[in-house]
Amino acid sequence: MALNVRRYDAIVVGAGGSGMRAALELARAGLKTAVLSKVFPTRSHTVAAQGGIAAPLANSTEDNWHWHMYDTVKGSDYLGDQDAIEYMCRRAIEVVVELEHMGMPFDRLENGKIYQRPFGGHTQDYGSAKMAMRACAAADRTGHAMLHTLYQQNVRANTQFLVEWMALDLIRDPQDGAIVGITALEMETGELCILQGKAVLLATGGAGRIYWATTNAFINTGDGLGMVARAGLPLEDMEFWQFHPTGVAGAGVLITEGVRGEGGYLLNKNGERFMERYAPNNKDLASRDVVSRAMTTEIKEGRGCGEHGDHLLLKLDHLGPEVIMHRLPGIREIAIKFANADPIREPIPVVPTVHYQMGGIPTNYMGQVIAPEGASKEAIVPGLYAAGECACVSVHGANRLGTNSLLDLLVFGKASGEQVIKDIRGQPAPHRNLPKEAGEATRARVARLDGAKTSERVVDVLNDLRRTMQAHCGVFRFPDDLHKGVEKVKELGERVQRTFIADKSKVYNTARVEALELENLVETAMATMISAEARKESRGAQARADYPERDDQNWMKHTLWYKEGNRLDYKPVHLRPLTVQTMEPKVRTY
């Protein structure tokens, strides 16, 4: 029996910040668009972002996009593509002002302008010791405010959401590899169906659930990454995972860098403000990879806090109740609930925690997915687009600066939406025919699960995967751990083929959803381990004990991982910006 087919102009997979920003463009342009989401749109993980959105509005300190661009290139440890970074920084003011016009409840300065706070790695005058106040904030709930604002605008624009639908696989035209649709699962009914479209935009977010300790939500399972990998397309720079310096110890819940932006700082067990030793200029507001490594070193050298010496303390009581209640009310709530500590009186126990995936689906800065083909390293995959955390444009390179993620969602959500409109309107053409075998791969995957009687429990494989990644691919990476990690993840890849679920029912079967998510997580983990093991240098979030230095001669290049045979390929970094001079690699200190 063939699957039901629904036909659209454009299909957006994911309703977080980038998906909904793109959807807004598409809905306003009058394209017939479906936006799929595993959860109701305002439950997407953008909701958990706290500290701010970067834009050089210069409301409090002198600022401009050149400085922002320099900071982003340096923050990326020179792995970011400079054309894409220039593009993002130059559109920052536009997209943030637009968001304000949409009704975003930004905090305000006395003169009525948007409130901005300092954030790690954002400086004035090309990396000076003076911080730029660049993070546009709504208290410490910026992501929540932004996600709701975008949803509200989509309600106004009459966007069609398919809520609690999970995308499963891409459908490619065997002739030229163009994407002509996806398969999806309607969770409430358990029905599989085909969504046919002229454009598929993946906005599925990150996959931080591959780690044991993560700030990421349950839904962050890399569904778009799995879809792309199974379709035979590469994933880029997957070795680069950001450990956020301040996750609540033991709970993983995020405490915004905005705490340090407002004047908080880290202490070791001796009460020492240790970041002064590691980053004399920017101290606690050095970029995240630098702070996370410093913290890990402090713990390793016996200066960690608590009974087991396994965390550090984030002190902010000196800011006073006024600032805490006004600017950081959300983290106070979190600290009281998850750390039993009221930051007005006592410090919060924190530890570096997996937070963000710099790598992802390779795209250009118009959101078009690109992959090597023939002589080109960057051939456009017709019909496929990606934006947000699942995409690798690459603006974050080897390390993302705080507040650049929400900016990335807005800029590339909008840009990819614009590109989809241009492509569909520019070359009007009927829908392509679906290939004969469309949907068969998905049906086979689901049928295997439905048929499996007893073997590997999903929850066991998931827990083993997360423990493996935690132990073998952390803040510092050791050659032995990496070798063994590769073998273990390969083994897990085989176990995933033998998973079973006891629940075979159709209606809202969350066991089936979790089993399908696990198949995406394992692709993500495989890409990560293989890419990390192969990169013989330290850069940004990849810190190897055996290769402690950055090696621009051999490794200033992007990794491309393919599922088939775990093949690796590489492509050059775009060192040439759009209009300004190349920002030459330098030794990176803060």
Binding site: A48, L57, H101, R108, V507, A511
Partner: protein, 231 residues
């Protein structure tokens, strides 16, 4: 700990029933959601929504020992050893703890939940003083979890006609926003024996809100504005 959980799977159950789970709890399990995840590891057919696990996404609202709460920020230590969990009351059950929230969102959408300002957009941000912005505090933080509306007897009776506390809180959020120009249209939309005036100040909404918001206060502000407009 012992969990007694409402179960219903329309694929196989003629009617709902309660099932007991003995869940082994260790020091890492802080919140009720941790216990639910463990129960699901024992029995993968148990269905509930969850995502952020930190009280900001609003997925895991449920009725916990008679009170609507978010499982992810309800501490195990604050609960008795035996906990009974039901789906949010007043909404159709899809399966187990998963309810159909269509009616809830329909009411939210009915208040036009977006800033309406028909002036040409300025080149930079619209200005708003810190005092004006302050009015949005206690309103914009709503996570649409539905704890409040599904604890409101007035909403149980008239979910199709009474906007309910969540929707009214948001209605006031846009009225209170100095950038919004549609106050009078918004008041017209609510001046109705059912849409607004079914609120009888029972204040269950205030009691259950996991974000400590106060829908009753917002509703009273709207009522005051209507009175002012009438005189």
């Amino acid at each position: 700990m012992k969990l007694t959980i409402y179960r219903y799977n329309p694929d196989k159950d003629a009617k709902p029933y309660y099932q007991d789970y003995d869940v082994p709890i260790d020091a890492h399990d802080r919140m009720l959601l941790d216990a639910l995840v463990k129960a699901k590891a024992i029995d993968d057919s148990l269905a509930f929504r969850r995502s952020c696990r930190e009280g900001v996404c609003g997925s895991d609202a449920m009725n916990i020992n008679g009170k609507n709460q978010l499982a992810c920020i309800t501490k195990i230590a604050d609960l008795p050893e035996h906990v009974t969990i039901r789906p949010l009351p007043g909404l159709p059950v899809i399966r187990d703890l998963i309810v159909d929230m269509t009616q809830f969102f329909k009411q939210y959408h009915s208040i036009k939940p977006y800033v309406i300002n028909n002036d040409p957009a300025p080149e930079r941000e619209r200005l708003q003083s810190p005092e004006e912005r302050e009015h949005l505090n206690g309103l914009y933080e709503c996570i649409l979890c539905a704890c409040c509306s599904t604890s409101c007897p007035s909403w149980w009776w008239n979910p199709d006609k009474f906007v309910g506390p969540a929707g009214l809180l948001q209605a006031y959020r846009f009225i209170a926003d100095t950038r919004d120009q549609a106050t009078s249209e918004r008041l017209d939309n609510l001046e109705d024996p059912y849409r607004l005036f079914r609120c009888h100040t029972i204040m269950n909404c205030v009691d259950v809100c996991p974000k400590n918001l106060n829908p009753t206060k917002a509703i009273n502000h709207i009522k005051e504005l209507l009175v002012k407009r009438a005189v």
